[in-house]
């Protein structure tokens, strides 16, 4: 039995199956990210004035990743438009760039994550706090490249790089009361940051896999059923734009505010 409305739209709704399907899926995605965004809001407004960490992330890297995603959004829509204009070669070029841009986004994100996992806060027995990147770890001592934290201050402004001079600091193990990196366990802000950005990155990877499949082996469909193939590109594009849309809000919320 042939499934109806796979390519041609239904007369009453004007939509083909996959289009309804992707929008229903995106609706569920809105609720998923919405729940996490509302968690962020409650944590943010629950923090006492001046207590929410600011400046932990490098804004320029975040801005770079925003530009990467925006550019990938235009290449996706131009790839679809190329198919609509019956130009398969141009589709290949645009969508190839989309895949490269998706990989660029993930690589940049992985550098950001690595930076956080090698960034430590070291509390000594006398409650002195040092903050910086781990350079050396031995059974007797650790060396971090960072600075002494003034009382009550976090790593504010570190992203700008110039406020506090950084030096190599050697600390004996016996002096250390607590040593913790800036992973999701470090504080509430980093917990919600890692949750939101990791979930988003998973979406980027998932979208890139689908786009990559349709760019590679899946593109054979163009020869046999070009309209259906164009619809598939439109559907994958809608998902990709949603991923871009989420980042449009994540960037100012996590990096700037």
């Amino acid at each position: 039995m042939e499934i109806p409305y796979v390519v041609q739209p239904r007369q009453d709704t004007g939509l083909y199956n996959a289009k309804v399907g992707i929008w229903l899926f995106l609706a569920s995605e809105v609720m998923l990210f919405g729940a996490l965004f509302s968690s962020y809001i409650i944590l943010r407004i629950g923090a006492a004035p001046g207590e929410w960490p600011v400046g932990l992330l490098n804004v320029w890297i975040g801005m770079g990743n925003t530009l990467v995603l925006i550019t990938s959004s235009i290449t996706v829509v131009l790839a679809w438009a190329s198919l609509k204009m019956n130009n398969f070669a141009k589709f290949k070029v645009y969508q190839g760039f989309t895949i490269l841009l998706a990989m660029t986004f993930v690589v940049i994100k992985s550098f950001e994550y690595t930076d956080k996992f090698t960034h430590y806060e070291v509390v000594l027995q006398d409650n002195t706090i040092y903050d910086g990147h781990l350079k050396e770890r031995t059974p007797t001592h650790v060396v971090i490249h960072g600075h002494k934290v003034e009382h009550g201050r976090h790593a504010e402004g570190e992203a700008h790089g110039s406020k506090t001079p950084h030096t190599d600091i050697r600390i004996e193990r016996a002096q250390i009361k607590k040593m913790e990196n800036y992973g999701p366990w470090h504080n509430t802000y980093l917990a919600i940051y890692f949750t939101l950005t990791a979930l988003h990155a998973l979406h980027v990877i998932g979208g890139a896999v689908v786009i990559g499949y349709l760019w590679g082996p899946g593109s054979k469909l163009w020869k046999t059923d070009p309209e259906r193939f164009t619809n598939r590109i439109e559907i994958s594009g809608l998902f990709w734009h949603f991923v871009d849309l989420v980042w449009i809000f994540l960037f100012p919320v996590l990096y700037l505010l």
Partner: protein, 125 residues
């Protein structure tokens, strides 16, 4: 058939110009957002308002033009209206219940910077 394709191609050339305009608008929006943060406005509320306003405009451009919501079918608008209703409900419930956050859920940094009991944080109630 070839006439049909030629007409489509002409139509889409027009669309492509619009997509490129939206792309540049998104780039400019991003630069303004970061610019407003960089100049460090006196009012935090103004910084937040500018950042979220620009993000909303960018979201409208992406959803409206790249996702074609500006000229979509009624059924899609119906799905989105239901989504907006439930999303707004969820946000309302969470913000409404913000005074009910159990004590100790707000952990910020090292213990030296912990809130002391009786400080003005709503989360502490």
């Amino acid at each position: 058939m070839s006439d049909h394709h030629a007409h489509d191609a002409h139509d889409f050339q027009h669309h492509v110009r619009r997509y490129l305009f939206v792309f540049w608008a998104l780039i400019v929006g991003t630069i303004i957002t970061v610019g407003a943060w960089y100049v460090k406005l006196d009012s935090m509320a103004l910084t937040v308002a500018i950042a979220l306003l620009i993000a909303s405009v960018k979201a409208f451009l992406v959803a409206g033009y790249f996702m074609h919501l500006i000229s979509e079918k009624k059924m899609i608008y119906g799905i989105l209206a239901a989504t907006a209703f439930f999303f707004a409900g969820m946000m309302y419930l969470i913000v409404w219940g913000r005074d009910q956050v159990p004590q100790g859920t707000i952990h910020l940094g090292s213990r030296d910077t912990f809130q002391t009991p009786g400080s003005p944080s709503k989360a502490a109630h």
